[in-house]
C-alpha cells in the first residue's frame, strides 16, 4: 500500500512538473495557474461541494472500469452505458410522476437497467458469437452516442429550446441538496461501499478477481467463468448507467447534447491510473474531479484554456503508470542487491 501510494504521489508530482513546463513554454506562470486551479476546486466550502458533486460520475465510471478490468472483461463501453443510463432516467423522469421517496430510487434503478442493457448487448454478443467485447463495446459507444442524440432531437425534444435537449424531469426526481452539497455524493458512497464489499468480501467478488488474474486457475477451481463474465458485464454496465442517471438527476435535470461526454472516458483513465484498485479509483476520481472543477476558475484567472486539464490528465496517467512499472523494476533490483549483500555478509 505504501509503495503504491509513494509511486502515485511521485507520478502525480512528475506529471504536474511536466504540465508546468508546458505552461512555461507557452508563457504562463505555472505557480499562479496551479494556485488558481486548486483554490477553485478545493479552497472553501462551495468549491469543495462542486468538486465532490463532479467526482460522482468519475468515480462511478472509474469503479465500473476497475471492476471490469480486474475481473477480466475489457469493458470499454462506459461512455455508451452512461448515455443510455442517463436516457432511461430522463425518460422515466419525464413520464412518471410519483412522490420523491419512490421517484428517486425508481429513476436510479431505471438508469442502472439502461446501462446494464447496453453492456448486456456486448455480453450477449460475446457469449453467443464469441465477439470480443473490447471492440463491440467501443462500437456500441458510438451507436449509443447517435441513438441518444436522435432521442433528444426527435421523440423527447423540448419544443421550447433551440438545441437538442429534453424538457426537465419531474421535480420529484431531482436529487435533494443540502446547502451546497448534492446528495449524489451519498448515493455514490453507498454504491462504492456495496461494490467494495461484493468485490473484496463476498465469494462472487473473489471468483471475479481470480478470473481476472488467471482464468484457467479460476476455472479449474470451479468458478463458472461464463456466468461470472455476464454478471460482471451487467454490473459494470449498471454502474456506468447509474453514473449517467446521477448526472441528469443532480445536474441539469434534463438530457442535454454532449452530456457526460468526457466523464466516462475519464473513468477508464482513472481505473488505469489506479491499477484497478477500488480505493485508488476513489482517490484518483476525487483528484481528477478537483482538476476538472478548478479548470474554469483557472481559465478565468490566468487565461490558460480549461482544455489544458485534458492534456494534463493523460500526462498524469502515462507518467504514473510508467513510473509504477519503472519503480517496480528499481525496487526489485534493490531488493536483489540487498539480499545478495546479506548473503555475502
Amino acid at each position: 500500500m505504501s509503495k503504491k501510494f509513494v509511486s502515485g504521489i511521485l507520478g502525480i508530482l512528475a506529471a504536474l512538473i511536466l504540465g508546468a513546463l508546458i505552461m512555461l513554454f507557452q508563457g504562463y506562470n505555472p505557480i499562479t495557474t496551479y494556485g488558481a486551479l486548486f483554490s477553485y476546486s478545493l479552497g472553501g466550502l462551495y468549491p469543495l461541494a462542486i468538486t465532490l458533486r463532479n467526482s460522482v460520475p468519475l468515480i462511478l465510471t472509474g469503479l465500473s472500469a476497475s471492476v471490469a478490468f480486474a475481473s477480466g472483461p475489457v469493458n470499454l463501453g462506459q461512455p455508451g452505458q452512461l448515455l443510455i443510463g442517463a436516457l432511461f432516467a430522463t425518460v422515466g423522469g419525464l413520464y412518471l410522476h410519483l412522490p420523491a421517496g419512490f421517484m428517486i430510487p425508481l429513476l436510479l434503478i431505471l438508469a442502472m437497467i439502461g446501462g446494464a442493457l447496453w453492456s448486456g448487448i456486448a455480453a450477449l454478443l460475446r457469449r453467443l458469437f464469441s465477439m470480443d467485447e473490447f471492440i463491440t463495446t467501443l462500437m456500441l459507444n458510438m451507436i449509443a452516442d447517435f441513438l441518444t442524440y436522435w432521442a433528444i432531437s426527435y421523440p423527447f425534444f423540448d419544443q421550447s429550446s433551440y438545441s437538442p435537449m429534453t424538457p426537465q424531469i419531474d421535480k420529484a426526481g431531482w436529487l435533494p441538496e443540502f446547502g451546497n452539497f448534492n446528495s449524489n455524493i451519498l448515493i455514490m458512497v453507498i454504491v462504492f461501499v456495496a461494490v467494495w464489499f461484493i468485490f473484496k468480501r463476498l465469494t462472487a467478488g473473489y471468483e471475479w478477481r481470480m478470473t481476472g488474474q488467471n482464468s484457467i486457475f479460476a476455472r479449474l477451481g470451479g468458478c463458472k467463468i461464463d456466468k461470472n463474465y455476464v454478471t460482471v458485464m451487467l454490473l459494470t454496465g449498471a454502474l456506468a448507467g447509474l453514473a449517467g442517471g446521477l448526472v441528469v438527476m443532480a445536474g441539469p435535470h434534463r438530457f442535454l447534447k454532449g452530456l457526460g461526454a468526457n466523464y466516462a472516458w475519464d473513468g477508464v483513465m482513472i481505473a488505469m491510473v489506479a491499477n484497478n484498485d477500488l480505493v485508488g479509483t476513489l482517490l484518483y476520481g476525487l483528484f481528477f474531479s478537483s482538476l476538472q472543477s478548478g479548470a474554469l476558475g483557472m481559465e478565468l484567472i490566468t487565461a490558460v484554456p480549461s482544455e489544458f486539464i485534458q492534456v494534463l490528465q493523460s500526462v498524469i496517467v502515462l507518467v504514473v503508470v510508467a513510473g509504477r512499472g519503472v519503480m517496480d523494476v528499481v525496487m526489485d533490483k534493490l531488493q536483489i542487491k540487498r539480499k545478495a549483500r546479506e548473503r555475502t555478509a
Binding site: L138, I143, E307
Partner: protein, 296 residues
C-alpha cells in the same frame, strides 16, 4: 449511373483513411504490438495537417506536418511501451485521450476557436486528373479525379504487401510478433523491429489524418476521426493483418459510409451515421462465425 459513380467515389474516400491507418496497424500487428493508438495518431495528424497547410500555405508541407504530428505520438508510444515497458493498452488509451485533449487545446490556443476551424487559407490536397483515362465513360470518373492520397494509398497497399512478405525486414518484423525470443537469439533485436513498425504506423496514420482534414473535408474539428482508428483496428483484427484483406474490408466499411450518406434521404442522419459502426459489428459477427467453423 451518376448515383453509382457517386456511391463508388464515396466508398473510396470513406475507405481511404481507414485503410491507411489499418495498414499502419498491420505493421504493428505483425510486430506483435497491441497498438490501439491509431485513432490518436490520426487525429494528431489531421490537426497538424491543417496547421501546416494554413501557416505554410502549401499542402505538401501540410502532409509533412501531419506525418511529424503522428510521428510524435508514435515516438511517445515507443518511449513508453518499448523503453519503459508500460502496458500497451494503457498507453494506447492514454495517448488517444491525449490526442483529443491536445488537439482541442491547440485548436483554442493557436486558432482561437472552439469546435472547428475552417478557413479559405487552408490549402487542400489536390485531386489528380489523369489525362486519357479521364475520358473513358463511367470508369474514368472513378479512376481519375481522386485525391492524391487515394492514389498513394493504392501504392501503399502493394508496397506494404511486398515489404511484409517479400523482404528480409518483413520476415524479421513477422518474427518479432511470432516468436520474439528466437528473433532475439538470432541476433536481431525485437525492440528495434517494434520501433520501426511503430514509426511506419505513425507515417501512415499521418497520411490518414492529412486525408481527413485536407482531402475528405478542408477543416479541422474536435475529435474528427470519430472512431475511424477503432474501425481500422477492427479491420486489422478481422483479416489478421493481411494488407490485401485490409484493403477489401476497408472498402466494405467505406461502402457503408457511402450507403449511410445515401440513406440520409430516408432516415434521420443520426441513424445513418451509425451505419459504419453497425457494419463493424456485423463483420465481427461473420469473422467469429468463420473462426468457430475452423475450430470445428
Amino acid at each position: 449511373m451518376n448515383i453509382f459513380i457517386g456511391l463508388i467515389n464515396g466508398m473510396i474516400s470513406g475507405a481511404t483513411p481507414i485503410l491507411l491507418a489499418a495498414l499502419g496497424g498491420a505493421f504493428t500487428y505483425y510486430a506483435g504490438i497491441f497498438n490501439i493508438a491509431m485513432e490518436g495518431m490520426m487525429l494528431e495528424g489531421a490537426f497538424f495537417a491543417v496547421l501546416g497547410s494554413y501557416y505554410l500555405h502549401s499542402w505538401p508541407l501540410g502532409i509533412l506536418c501531419a506525418v511529424v504530428g503522428a510521428m510524435v505520438m508514435a515516438l511517445i508510444f515507443i518511449l513508453f511501451t518499448v523503453y519503459l515497458k508500460t502496458d500497451e493498452f494503457v498507453t494506447g488509451i492514454a495517448l488517444n485521450l491525449f490526442a483529443v485533449g491536445s488537439t482541442t487545446y491547440m485548436l483554442r490556443q493557436i486558432f482561437k476557436v472552439k469546435g472547428a476551424f475552417s478557413d479559405p487559407g487552408i490549402i487542400p490536397i489536390p485531386q489528380i486528373h489523369i489525362p486519357l483515362i479521364e475520358k473513358i465513360p463511367v470508369v474514368g470518373g472513378i479512376l481519375s479525379g481522386q485525391n492524391l492520397i487515394v492514389y498513394l494509398t493504392v501504392i501503399a497497399i502493394f508496397v506494404s504487401m511486398y515489404v511484409i512478405f517479400k523482404t528480409r525486414f518483413g520476415l524479421r518484423l513477422r518474427a518479432a510478433g511470432y516468436n520474439a525470443p528466437s528473433l532475439d537469439s538470432s541476433g536481431v533485436k525485437t525492440a528495434t523491429m517494434r520501433i520501426w513498425s511503430l514509426v511506419i504506423c505513425g507515417v501512415l496514420c499521418g497520411f490518414a489524418g492529412a486525408f481527413l482534414s485536407l482531402g475528405y473535408v478542408t477543416l479541422f474539428s474536435e475529435n474528427m476521426t470519430a472512431g475511424r482508428g477503432w474501425i481500422s483496428l477492427a479491420a486489422v483484427i478481422l483479416v489478421n493483418g493481411n494488407p490485401g484483406g485490409i484493403a477489401l474490408i476497408s472498402l466494405v466499411f467505406g461502402f457503408t459510409d457511402g450507403v449511410g450518406l445515401f440513406l440520409q434521404k430516408y432516415l434521420p442522419n443520426q441513424f445513418t451515421s451509425m451505419v459504419p459502426y453497425l457494419a463493424t459489428l456485423v463483420s465481427l459477427y461473420f469473422y467469429s462465425i468463420q473462426k468457430r467453423k475452423k475450430l470445428i
